[in-house]
């Protein structure tokens, strides 16, 4: 069979979408990923590579292996349920953009050289930025511009690293590089930005909640997971990733607890989940890499499900703040049930998908003796149940009755959520299906008594803590507010710093000017005192004396000369 790179199918699909309208367009956006997915499953693409020669450089644009195939499969799944969920999105440009975005994500994971990776990286940045701004509000437009700026910085760092790497090694192959040298460091930071490393994370929490209900579903699936894949390929076993990952699992959950916008809560929780993956990649053993990959696979599905359920709520009610919602289980019982499946999966309840992958990373941390890291991950596991598992469904569908009465989510949305929920339970109940796809052979079993009991205990008592905190009134109520995060630096801080800096510079300049003027005046006064009209040098007597002395010395010279003759 002729190898047809997945991204080509998606890009052709995107061009086609521009000429279609209505239901044909909606079906087209589902058909394209289905066809591409079938081709990928039915052929054995690991056999041969598709290469292309550009300006004397050999680009390997399509060469899947076991690692990239896991991501490739789940990106297809996400494109399919995203396509179904956005059935009602009728704008052909938006549809085409989602196909370009999914296609470039697939291109990025299946290519094997740094230049192609850079091209797909930037294509993802532009197409996803369109999805951020397509809701049309000024706020989204501003967030989108900031998002695009940060994504482009990431791309440029990747390009700089790739060029440096090429000049040093003469190769552009994207393979394991480890954290050695400037080139690798630049590429590492480029991946880190897309992966939402701590302090580089704010583009995610700022931009994703501003998109449309459909747009966020796509956004949550691709960008960060491509970065996770890139880290797994280039930097597996880099120890600093363990600590970065552990910080990523812990700090966002505090923000998630006090955040009011429920999609932003999910964005923070996404950083928390990526933290588990980054940590696994840092540990770098076969079990850990398998765990990170499996968790990325599951995260795309359960985070997609949660984003879809919140998208459905936003679509029906027009509201997304925890303080405005509540009691929706009466109006949207099916959405509520599907949301709870997603919540159970992200919380890693036994029989749901999160459990079978997260426990692999945690077991790997224990096996390799990272005890403090394990404690941090355990804390984050309890925390994720608290802020994503309980908070999301509770404040949207239960809590106080907000009085909002709407229709149940549209059928297309329910079908998309249903597929994702089915996969969450299916993978959770039959983890071997997922394990057989992983990069390394594994005989890991998540379902032993120790694991299951420990997980149930930690979850039930986290829930007990929630019940106690809620009933005693300690639990912070949802409030209309924003919480300051790193974005403050570039949204407020830099401006304040600029103003302060400008003031300081202005003061220094004016002070320096005064000082210089004074100095110059004093110098001129000094010169005038010596050479001015009334000075000794300019007095008549001195001139006479000078003439006399010249005449005398001349006479002395003449006499002396005469004597010598």
């Amino acid at each position: 069979m002729i190898e047809l790179p997945s991204f080509v199918i998606f890009f052709i699909g995107a061009v086609g979408a521009l000429f279609l309208r209505g239901r044909i367009l909606a079906s087209w956006a589902i058909t394209v990923p289905v066809i591409s997915g079938l081709l990928l499953v039915l052929s054995d693409p690991t056999e041969q590579a598709v290469t292309m020669s550009v300006a004397g450089i050999e680009l390997t644009i399509f060469q899947p292996d076991r690692l990239s195939l896991v991501f490739g499969y789940v990106f297809h799944i996400a494109a399919i349920f995203g396509g179904i969920f956005s059935w009602r999105m009728t704008n052909p440009i938006s549809k085409a953009t989602t196909l370009v975005y999914a296609g470039s994500a697939l291109g990025a994971v299946f290519c094997r050289d740094l230049i192609s990776l850079f091209l797909f990286w930037e294509l993802m940045a532009f197409s996803s930025a369109y999805l951020v701004v397509c809701s049309g509000s000024t706020k989204a437009a501003r967030a989108g511009v900031r998002y695009l700026t940060i994504q482009i910085i990431s791309g440029l760092l990747l390009l700089a690293g790739a060029v440096l790497h090429y000049s040093q090694t003469g190769s552009i192959e994207f393979t394991h590089m480890g954290l050695s040298g400037t080139a690798a460091l630049l590429i590492f930071i480029a991946f880190g930005i897309k992966c939402a490393f701590p302090l580089l994370h704010n583009w995610l929490t700022e931009a994703y909640p501003e998109s449309t209900p459909d747009g966020t579903v796509f956004l949550s699936a691709f960008t960060t997971k491509v970065a996770v894949y890139a880290l797994a390929r280039g930097f597996a076993g880099t120890e600093s990733l363990i600590y970065i990952g552990a910080i990523m699992t812990c700090f966002p959950i505090f923000y998630a607890v006090i955040e009011n916008d429920l999609r932003r809560v999910l964005a923070y929780s996404m950083i928390n989940q990526i933290g588990f993956m980054v940590c696994g990649i840092g540990i770098g053993t076969e079990l850990a890499i398998n765990g990170a990959t499996a968790h990325a696979f599951n995260d795309v599905i359960f985070k997609g499900l949660l984003m879809m359920s919140m998208g459905a709520v936003l679509y029906r009610t027009g509201k997304m703040n925890g303080s405005d919602l509540g009691g929706l289980y009466k109006s949207m019982p099916k959405t509520a049930a599907l949301c709870i499946v997603g919540a159970a999966s992200i919380s890693a309840f036994p029989l749901f998908s999160g459990f079978v992958s997260k426990s692999m990373v945690m077991s790997a941390a224990l096996e390799e003796g990272y005890m403090i890291i394990w404690i941090a991950l355990l804390f984050a596991s309890a925390g994720v149940f608290h802020h994503a598992g309980i908070k999301i469904p509770f404040f949207a569908f239960f809590a106080h009755d907000s009085g909002i009465r709407v229709k149940e989510a549209p059928t297309s949305m329910l079908i998309a959520m249903g597929i994702a929920a089915f996969l969450c339970i299916g993978i959770g109940s039959f983890p071997q299906l997922l394990y057989s796809l992983l990069p390394y052979e594994t005989n890991y079993s998540a379902y032993d008594t120790t694991h299951v009991l420990a997980q149930i205990q930690i979850l039930l008592f986290s829930a007990l803590a929630f019940v106690w905190l809620k009933l005693s009134g300690i639990y912070p109520p949802e409030l209309r507010s924003v919480n300051i995060d790193v974005e403050w630096i570039y949204r407020k801080g830099l401006f304040t710093a600029y103003r302060t800096g400008a003031y300081i510079v202005q003061t220094l300049v004016s002070y320096g000017y005064t000082l210089l003027t004074r100095l110059a005046k004093r110098t001129f006064r000094g010169i005038t005192r010596v050479t001015g009209r009334s000075s000794r040098l300019a007095s008549e007597r001195t001139v006479d004396l000078m003439i006399v002395s010249v005449v005398v010395s001349f006479a002395v010279f003449l006499v002396y000369h005469l004597l010598n003759l």
Binding site: R142, L378, F379, G383, T450, I458, F466
Partner: protein
């Protein structure tokens, strides 16, 4: 901070779904896993796992710390929704 205050009636969990009955089952489940902790022998890898009720206590304490710290974080971090509007 006055503008953050709003009528907080969401401590009232939905009565319609029979909160008390649900909570009673929930407490029973908690008690059951506490008992199982003593009954079931587990093979442990971390020394702390040997402590009695380790996971139960950890889960509870971790969440209380999480919420209390997060609530405290609101003081320095929380701003009105319009905070960034003129940026």
């Amino acid at each position: 901070m006055a503008n953050f205050k709003q009528k907080d009636n969401d401590t009232q969990l939905p009565r319609a779904v029979g909160l008390r009955r649900i909570l009673r089952w929930f407490y029973a489940a908690c008690a059951l896993v506490l008992i199982l902790d003593i009954v079931i022998h587990r093979h442990v890898m971390h020394p702390w796992e040997n402590l009695l009720f380790f996971y139960c206590v950890f889960g509870f304490v971790a969440c209380v710390i999480l919420v209390v710290v997060a609530k405290w974080m609101r003081k320095p971090l929380m701003r009105s929704e319009e905070y960034y509007d003129n940026d």
